[in-house]
């Protein structure tokens, strides 16, 4: 602090500090301002009493003063969520009871179902299928028009309810893609030939002779499930082999690996874990992603 300095114009003492010739007047604070400050202090004590405020340690761990009115933000949120559930309860009940096409035909129910389905998808399905349902290797993309077990509403609903190769569910979708190489069912050369033939289905074969040898192998070993020309069979859950969509990759090496070691991806059965309204909402949501097939939804406008 320098010595006292008085401002010439106002006659007011300054704070004694100077910044490039600018000084600050040391004007008194109005008393009401001071009292306002005291009031805020009193307010804070009152707040401590009324609202949750101070953490403290007990033998059972940290807790906090709960406040006189018992306000708790978690309880507020829980109440709000319960209230939302209550307002939706009737509609969700209708979704659970009505056949899927009728839900789809009701704009208001459909809006609710798509929202609920999207939320349920994020909670339950996204870890494997991806947050955009884009899928990963071994986990199908649900946006495309390629379905292993069928893309109609009922197909999707069945898949979600019973899962795929899910032992705990008696009605689960099940099949076996055998490990032709590992189990010695086909020789390496045969596997290579059949891979060449599978590539030829999408016009990517490089060796016509090998492909033709592979066709014979295919006819004896694969055609029962994958069908003539590799069109696939949804009844059996056999993927099509003549499209641009590959669950485990469509390059030569991927195909050879699939034929050699087999594939048996699983999906949990959600029936019993999720309620019917949620499963139906999920079905409608997945169906709406762009690959949903129409036949099962004739009530559409």
């Amino acid at each position: 602090m320098s010595e006292k300095h008085k401002d010439d114009v106002t006659g007011v003492e300054t704070t004694g500090h100077e910044w490039d010739g600018i000084r600050e007047l040391n004007n008194p604070l109005p008393k009401w301002w001071l009292y306002t400050f005291y009031v805020t202090i009193v307010w804070c004590f009152a707040y401590w009493v009324v609202m949750p405020a101070w953490p403290y340690l007990t033998t059972e761990g940290w807790t906090y003063t709960k406040g006189a009115i018992g306000y708790e933000q978690r309880a507020v949120v829980a109440n709000e969520i319960a209230a939302v559930h209550e307002t939706r309860a009737e509609a969700m009940q209708r979704i659970a009871e009505l056949p899927l096409p009728e839900v789809a035909a009701d704009a208001a129910l459909m809006e609710l179902a798509l929202g609920a389905g999207k939320a349920a998808f994020g909670d339950n399905c996204a870890p494997c299928h991806g947050s955009g349902a884009q899928g990963f290797k071994g986990f199908p993309n649900l946006n495309d028009d390629n379905w292993i077990w069928g893309g109609k509403l009922d197909d999707i609903h069945y898949t979600i309810t019973h899962g795929i190769r899910w032992e705990a569910a008696p009605d689960t979708r099940n099949n076996i893609m055998m490990a032709y190489g590992r189990d010695g069912l086909l020789t390496r050369a045969e596997i290579s030939d059949v891979a060449e033939y599978v590539l030829s289905l999408t016009n990517r074969a490089e060796n016509a002779e090998a492909a033709s040898r592979g066709e014979e192998v295919f006819a004896s070993q694969c055609v029962a499930c994958h069908g003539e020309g590799g069109v696939g069979n949804r009844e059996l859950g056999a993927p099509s082999l003549n499209t641009a969509v590959w669950l485990y990759g469509g390059e030569r090496a991927d195909i050879i690996e699939t034929v050699s070691n087999g594939r048996s991806g699983t999906m949990p059965a959600w029936g019993g874990r999720l309620n019917e309204a949620t499963i139906k909402s999920l079905t409608l949501f997945v169906h709406s992603l762009g690959g949903g097939e129409d036949e099962a939804a004739p009530a559409m406008r």
Binding site: P28, K31, G130, N141, V245, S288, L289, G292
Partner: protein
């Protein structure tokens, strides 16, 4: 004795009465400004200001401004404006639940809030302009704090009399009469505050409906809450805190320094004419002295309690009441008016240097503000006149960016948001432009006829569309292709194009 002499005598008596009231007249000084040096302890007690009623042109102007501004405030919510069936017919309505602002012919949606921003920019530029021309015109005449405080002071005057009577009353011991006057004053203050808060809520709901609800005590709780809040703030700030708000709470006085310049017209005491000041005996010469007779009427009239003769001060709201007070005195002592007047710093200097005073309203600062106002106003007008009642937004799916279909085609998903701001429903046809071979489809469950989107009045519809391209096409473009969604209104044929990007694998 003449009338003049009589009234001067009365002034002297008032001054004597005021001198008894500490600190207005301590230590033999008859009038002391509340911010003078001797009133400055560490924490300053409030020095009560007793503004005296003055008569004159500026007082009349302030009456007029008060009447007009209060009328605008109270009447506006009741103005009607027909917008057609099903829509509010209130001219000015801030409809928060429906998220619409109605202002006569204007209707502002939340996403158009920039119009309000533009309005605020215009308001502040206007404030800068008038401030650089004529000082704190806003503070002195039109600011709600000034208008309501002025109103409250008049109520006080009605119950307790003018300055001297109020000072006497405050110094007198409590009595039945004093209690009655004080109580009456506070009741009227509270009623005015209640009316202020009561009028405020009408801007946010249909005024006639809400008025009935209020009278039948069926109004929503939020209305009562805001009426209570505004009653409280109006009473506290306007009736109780008064000049304290301007001096300690409002940031605007602090900005003044940057807004004035030496050519700004400010309420000023012409010390070149007034000094040396001192009491003047009627009939004696005015030679060798100034015109200021040190009667203190300018201080007595000041609602801020300051002495304008101390020069430009932060506290001064430039209400010009001291001009009226001084002109009155000048008439009585038969000297020319305008000892306190709207004057510029530059003219004070010119007079001292013997030059002719002159006004220069047109100077870089005022020209700049005017030009900025014109530019902003022009932009606003252009925006408003070309304001579209049909907005289209296209948002491409990002997760996944694209989907490979069985036949190898690439599909992209888009949300086409169609905002129909008209008060009737419309149907829009969505088509593509600039993407050869593309196919436009809608997801199976969208529940509407393909490519036709029906949008109800005043609504937004979010329609999902898929665009598919053969794989060769997108690979040739390096994985990206630009195109446009064309949204055509059926009937009118109005068209909006929105550009979008199609994405696919680059190889």
């Amino acid at each position: 004795m003449t009338d003049t002499a009589l009234s001067l005598e009365r002034l002297a008596a008032e001054a004597a009465a005021a001198a008894d009231a500490d600190p207005h007249g301590a230590e033999g000084e008859r009038y002391t400004a509340v911010n003078s040096e001797k009133n400055r302890p560490l924490y300053a007690s409030r020095v009560k200001v007793y503004p005296k009623l003055v008569h004159g042109n500026f007082r009349r102007l302030k009456w007029l401004v008060m009447a007009v501004t209060l009328a605008i405030y109270y009447v506006t919510p009741w103005l009607r404006w027909d917008r057609g069936p099903g829509l509010p017919d209130q001219a000015v309505l801030l409809d928060f639940p429906a998220r619409r602002f109605y202002f006569f012919f204007l209707e502002i949606w939340p996403q158009e809030f920039y119009y309000v921003t533009g309005l605020l920019i215009l308001a502040s530029l206007g404030l800068f302009l008038v401030t650089s021309v004529a000082g704190r015109v806003w503070c002195g005449y039109a600011c709600p704090q000034t208008v309501w405080t002025d109103l409250f002071v008049h109520v006080e005057r009605f119950f307790e009399g003018d300055r001297a009577a109020r000072i006497r009353l405050d110094k007198s011991p409590m009595s039945g009469a004093k209690l009655a006057r004080k109580t009456g004053k506070h009741i009227v203050w509270l009623l005015i505050a209640l009316a202020t808060g009561g009028a405020w809520v009408f801007y946010f709901a249909d005024a006639p409906t809400l008025a009935v609800q209020l009278l039948s005590l069926e109004a929503p709780a939020i209305a009562w809450l805001f009426i209570g809040l505004f009653t409280l703030t109006t009473y506290t700030l306007g009736a109780i805190a008064r000049e304290q708000v301007c001096i300690y709470m409002c940031p605007w006085p602090r900005i003044q320094g940057a807004m004035f310049d030496e050519e700004s017209l400010l309420v000023s005491y012409r010390d070149d004419r007034g000094e040396k000041r001192g009491p003047h005996k009627k009939g004696t010469s005015w030679e060798g002295r100034g015109d200021c007779i040190d009667c203190g009427q300018c201080v007595a009239a000041c609602p801020m309690g300051i002495d304008i003769r101390d020069g430009m001060q932060l506290e001064c709201i430039q209400c010009a009441l001291c001009i009226d007070a001084c002109n009155d005195i000048m008439d009585k002592v038969e000297r020319p008016r305008g000892l306190i007047t709207y004057d510029t710093f530059r003219n004070q200097e010119r007079r001292k240097a013997g030059e002719t005073p002159r006004l220069s309203i047109l100077r870089p600062r005022t020209i700049l503000y005017s030009v900025l106002i014109l530019i902003v106003a022009a932009i606003m007008l252009f925006g408003l006149s070309t304001r579209s009642t049909l907005d289209v937004n296209v948002i491409a799916d990002r997760n996944p960016l694209f989907v490979v279909l069985s036949d190898g085609a690439i599909r992209n998903g888009y949300q086409v948001k169609i905002l129909n701001k008209e008060h009737e429903a419309h149907t829009y046809r969505v088509s593509l432009s600039g993407l050869d071979g593309a196919m436009l489809t809608r997801p199976a469950l969208a529940g509407e006829e393909e490519a036709l989107v029906h949008v109800p009045a005043d609504s937004l519809v979010n329609a999902r569309f898929f665009v598919s391209l053969p794989p060769a096409r997108i690979a040739a473009e390096g994985g990206e292709a630009g195109f446009a969604f064309v949204v055509t209104e059926l009937g009118s044929g109005r068209e909006v194009m929105k550009y979008a990007t199609f994405r696919g694998p680059a190889k």
